[in-house]
C-alpha cells in the first residue's frame, strides 16, 4: 500500500515567485495536514484539512494557502516567496483525531 506521496521532492524558486506543492494521502485517509520544517527546528503546523474543510490554521501569513480535493489529495500554495520560506514542507495524513499521522518524505523548497 502506498504511503503519503509528495511532489516535487526538490524545488528551487526565486524570491517573489509562486509555488504549489502537492500531496496524496494514504488511501482511506480523509485528513491532510501541512507542516513547515526549517533547518534545525521541529515541524511547524501550517494547515489541516478534513473532509475538504479547513479545520486548523497555524500562525503563517496569508501568502500561504491550501485546499483539499474530492479525492482527498491536497495542494499547498505559497505566493510572493521570501528567502525565509526555504524549508522542508511535510504533508501528513491520518484517519482522524488521535490517530497516527503518517508523513510523506517532504518537499525541499529553496528560495534564492
Amino acid at each position: 500500500d502506498a504511503g503519503v506521496t509528495q511532489s516535487p521532492t526538490h524545488l528551487i524558486k526565486t524570491r517573489g515567485q509562486h509555488v504549489t506543492l502537492r500531496c496524496s494521502p494514504i488511501s482511506g485517509h480523509k485528513s491532510v495536514s501541512w507542516y513547515q520544517q526549517v533547518l534545525g527546528q521541529g515541524p511547524q503546523f501550517i494547515f489541516q484539512y478534513y473532509e475538504k474543510e479547513e479545520r486548523g490554521r497555524g500562525n503563517f501569513p496569508d501568502r500561504f494557502s491550501a485546499r483539499q480535493f474530492p479525492n482527498y489529495s491536497s495542494e499547498l500554495n505559497v505566493n510572493a516567496l521570501l528567502l525565509g520560506d526555504s524549508a522542508l514542507y511535510l504533508c501528513a495524513s491520518s484517519l482522524g483525531q488521535g490517530r497516527e499521522a503518517f508523513f510523506g518524505q517532504g518537499t525541499r523548497l529553496t528560495v534564492v
Partner: protein, 115 residues
C-alpha cells in the same frame, strides 16, 4: 496553547548503552503524545504514541516511553542503542478537543550513537 520542550538538543551515547531523551509539555487540556524519528533527508516516522490506558508505551525498534501526568513529561528510552538509531527525535502533542488534529512539535533531539 500547547508547547513542547525537549531538554537536550544533542545526546551522544556509546553503542549498546542505554539512552533517555527527555520531553516535557505544557497544555491547558488533555493531550495525546507522540514520538517521531527523522533520518537525514527524510520525513517523520512514528515511534510510539500515548492515547490512553497504560502510561508505559512500547514502540518500534525497542523504544518505550512513560507518560507522567503530574510532571507533564513523556520521556523516551531505549535500554541498548545501535548505530542505526542515530537520527533526530521529535516529541509532539495534540489536544483531545473534538475536531483538533494539530501536532505541536518540540525542537528535536539529535541522537548520535558512537561505535
Amino acid at each position: 496553547a500547547q508547547s513542547v520542550t525537549q531538554l537536550d538538543s544533542q545526546v551522544p551515547v556509546f553503542e549498546e548503552a542505554p539512552v533517555e531523551l527527555r520531553c516535557n509539555y505544557s497544555s491547558s487540556v488533555s493531550v495525546y503524545l507522540f514520538w517521531y524519528v527523522q533520518y537525514p533527508n527524510q520525513g517523520l516516522q512514528l515511534l510510539l504514541k500515548y492515547l490512553s490506558g497504560s502510561t508505559l508505551v512500547k514502540g518500534i525498534n525497542g523504544f518505550e516511553a512513560e507518560f507522567n501526568k503530574s510532571q507533564t513529561s513523556f520521556h523516551l528510552r531505549k535500554p541498548s542503542v545501535h548505530i542505526s538509531d542515530t537520527a533526530e527525535y521529535f516529541c509532539a502533542v495534540s489536544d483531545r478537543r473534538a475536531g483538533s488534529y494539530q501536532l505541536t512539535f518540540g525542537k528535536g533531539t539529535k541522537l548520535s550513537v558512537i561505535p
